[in-house]
Symmetry: C3
Subunit: 264 residues, 3 copies
């Protein structure tokens, strides 16, 4: 496997400052926008059906996260994903709580047909998307990332994109290549929206570097390295969040290159 150049990815993100169109849940919009700003990208949350299609065509990348989806935003998501496809804008699907809830599970299945460059979720969500599991409990996963290896590879083959499974060790695959990203901090799971912000960073990196697997791995590595740094200064889960944003900003090419990234 060709080595993934994390140093070059971080430099490309800073130089390109991609504009990331986020159709995401209302719980995490603020934190997602601040995470994008921290790494040097630009966020825009345009979620009216009247505008989402037009905006997805001019953005550098698109994130679709179904965490609090309802009829109007589902329509905006369909329009944005189609428009992104037509314009060649890479887009990321975050299937929050898919499997456990019928409405969003059907929507995610529909969106999956529109060729997301990356699907990012936890093991339960990825297994549910692949039709292999019983689904999760909200945004928590009851399965580990490794339980989802087969489902992830199958989904990657089906979509032609990358599947990224978050867990204690993250697992990313494009069907042919598989990469694991370790490190991070348990405090990420105590901060609402950390996983959702990661989805947005994946979109930003893919826009900056082009290759979906490289972009997705760089985003996961960036989140993990910044979390380790923030955990050293935080006094608890409350002060961890701003410290993590500080660290997302501070992590440069050389810092990113220290991430625990391995083939296989």
């Amino acid at each position: 496997m060709e080595a993934i150049d994390l140093r070059a990815a971080r430099t490309a993100l800073r130089e390109n400052a991609p504009l990331v169109h986020c159709l995401t849940n209302t719980v995490v919009q603020t934190f997602t926008a601040n995470a994008l700003l921290a790494v040097g990208a630009a966020p825009a949350m345009v979620d009216a059906p009247q505008e989402a299609g037009d905006f997805a065509a001019v953005a550098s990348a698109l994130l679709i996260n179904v965490g609090t989806v309802h009829e109007r935003t589902a329509e905006a998501m369909r329009l944005a994903a189609r428009s992104a496809g037509a314009a060649g804008t890479p887009w990321v699907l975050d299937p929050v709580a898919v499997g456990g809830l019928a409405y969003r599970t059907a929507l995610a299945g529909e969106l999956l047909e529109l060729s997301p460059a990356v699907v990012r979720g936890n093991a339960s969500e990825v297994m549910a998307l692949a039709g292999a599991g019983a689904g999760g409990r909200g945004v928590d996963s009851t399965a580990g990332a490794d339980d989802a290896v087969t489902a992830a590879r199958e989904l990657a083959a089906r979509t032609g994109g990358v599947i990224a499974v978050s867990g204690e060790v993250d697992l990313l695959t494009d069907g042919a290549r598989t990469v694991r990203v370790g490190g991070g901090s348990p405090l990420l799971t105590r901060t609402t929206g950390a996983g959702c912000a990661l989805g947005a960073l994946v979109a930003a990196y893919v826009a900056a570097v082009g290759d979906p697997l490289t972009g997705a791995v760089a985003a996961h590595a960036h989140v993990a390295v910044a979390a380790e740094r923030a955990a050293r200064t935080a006094a608890g889960p409350g002060t961890f969040a701003p410290a993590w944003l500080d660290a997302l900003d501070a992590v440069g090419p050389d810092d990113l290159a220290t991430a625990d990234v391995r083939a296989g």
Copy 2:
């Protein structure tokens, strides 16, 4: 009156890690989710009418807060409250700004018929719900908790649940027993969503301990003790919020037992 065992309540919350379904206003969703994570509970904000009923049936507890309610979310609230009732899921009503605005006042009256385990509001809101007052000014209360004693007892009798009135000293009653919780910090009133997060913590504690009065008192005590701790380190209202989340996490059974909780 039987003494309320705060130590046991804190232990039960940590052990049970209840999943709290929050139908709450968009201003406070993030802070509410982080407060739940900080105390050891799990948040989920599923507010589409297509999903809210199903999710309320599997959650450990439900919070309904009408702060930014509109037609779609009102429908989700009706479905979730009915589903919670049918499933035996305890639920909490936070009647933000009820009294001053006709649309939400009618909705809150309707929801009140669906037997919330706890109603948590300020004195103006509780008096308005009981038909006794002219209502408040947004989320501020123009009356003190003690002004609402009669209204709270009458409401408790009517709903068969607990009424919790927030103020400088909080007043909680199930109609028969009345408990006051002191302490806290004025910085809580300078932090948007602190009261709304308290409503979610009430839901979490009631799920963990079973008895609505014990759960509601424990949540109010937890918020107050954490606020005192955070106020000692915060440099102002901005740094108070993350410090309060840190303190919500740090407060253990022995710390909670130091809270200013008295019968009467």
Copy 3:
């Protein structure tokens, strides 16, 4: 030009504690509410069409920000702006990303006819509103405040209100008088919602002091002075946000009087 009394403006804001009704985008609601609380004002986000008109009539001031506008909230904005006009409630329009997106551009044009006391935006947005430019890239401006001088003066004459153009140096005009506000910190542009919160603070100050130009200048000066103070203690963009809220609270009349405010 009569000098603008910043000391008196800060005192008036603290004494009046205006209630600011915010119809704003979902990304920045929390931060906007906390910024209003920090300076001593009271926020309320009531955005259902059933309630927005009634509430705008009793609020001290109204903010309309079209950042994530859609059909329901657009209707609430129309009702609130009309109600504010009828009740004599001053209101502020923040035309986020107007110019680049047809739906919100048409809405902003419609709202502009309802006589906002202040329009606050970046140069691209103000030029787009005046029909002079090609629009911005989300909330970023590709033009500097000075590029918008002519457009701002023309818009001020057309609306009879104040136009405030944010940039490295802010430019504010009522058509006759022009004021520039310098200072601040680049970290403001790394914090989502700082500009949107400024719009809310303009509404609060105008309610407190009466004169729209004085109020708008005081709000811009307050934001700049607080940002300089916060930048001295923040370790990055994440810790800047709570530090800025602390500083918004701490800046008193004498501090505000040190702001870089000049005629012309």
